[in-house]
């Protein structure tokens, strides 16, 4: 491993970042299209979808950047996602009407990245925050700073 071990974009972390980037792209593309094309059908669900897309983008950036602040941002965004997928997933299954949805279909025209716990995305939105939090815990700054070879001035 190279000297600048304070970046989180090393080792298995890069796979996590790649998957986050794909999910950010997927959520952004879908929510932008749904908002432009059919926002009035389910405004709340599509707004949440757009919010989740922004959070995925922020989480991806936070995982790439180094430093304590970004580490906290990573925790906040990934934690938010975990809560989001649980809450929105549960609502979409048991009381879809509360979100203005007409059904549970995770592949339907109103489905979002968090519908039915992300079933339309192979449950990756449910698994990813858990993996992300495990990863962040293992690479927390107090552990990383003990790692050998610190470059001068960093």
């Amino acid at each position: 491993m190279t000297a600048n071990s304070s970046s989180r974009a090393v080792g298995v972390g890069r796979v996590l970042i790649a998957v986050y980037a794909i999910l950010a792209l997927a959520a952004t593309g879908r929510s932008v299209f749904q908002i432009i094309d059919r926002f009035s059908e389910a405004p709340l669900a599509f707004s949440l979808s757009a919010l989740s897309a922004l959070v995925y983008i922020l989480a991806t950036v936070a995982l790439i950047m180094r430093g304590d602040t970004w580490y906290r941002v990573a925790w906040a965004t990934i934690g938010f996602e975990f809560v989001g997928v649980i809450v929105v997933g549960t609502l979409s299954v048991f009381v879809p009407s509360l979100l203005g949805l007409h059904g549970v279909d995770p592949f339907g025209r109103q489905s979002t990245v968090w519908s039915a716990y992300g079933l339309g995305y192979l449950l990756i939105p449910l698994a990813l925050p858990v993996l992300g939090m495990i990863y962040l815990h293992r690479r927390r700054p107090s552990v990383v700073s003990v790692a050998p070879v610190q470059t001068a001035g960093s």
Binding site: G11, V15, L25, A26, D37, R109
Partner: protein, 122 residues
């Protein structure tokens, strides 16, 4: 879209993805096999783009939303080059795994594009 070509493309992307994952987890840096497989996936996507542009003029219009289709198409086209550049910059096993993940994501996206084209009623 052409049905057999789409299934072929999904099949190739899945095989390429599994190959890259296997090579990556075996500890291989990105090599000619993993990069080549990703390149094939990208070339098939470009071919699919051409097919998608020509199809409506050849009496094969999409049943679903064309803008939604192209959001997937363009996103899918961007993924293999991004993963490929990353693999050139960072040469270790995890870049190979990323190539595999990207190929599998492309397979899912192409299948979704096919759903939009064939099944979805706008």
């Amino acid at each position: 879209m052409i049905e057999w070509f789409t299934y072929l493309q999904v099949g190739v992307a899945v095989v390429a993805g599994l190959l890259c994952l296997a090579l990556g987890f075996a500890g291989r840096q990105p090599n000619d096999y993993s990069m080549g497989a990703t390149l094939v996936v990208e070339l098939l996507l470009i071919a699919q783009l051409v097919v998608a542009i020509v199809s409506p003029f050849a009496g094969n219009p999409p049943r679903g939303s064309l803008p939604e289709f192209y959001i997937y198409m363009i996103s899918a086209l961007l993924l293999p080059p991004l993963a490929g550049f990353w693999a050139l910059l960072e040469r270790n096993r995890w870049s190979t795994v990323v190539l595999g993940v990207i190929c599998l994501a492309v397979a899912v996206m192409v299948y979704r594009m096919y759903q939009i084209w064939v099944f979805q009623v706008a």
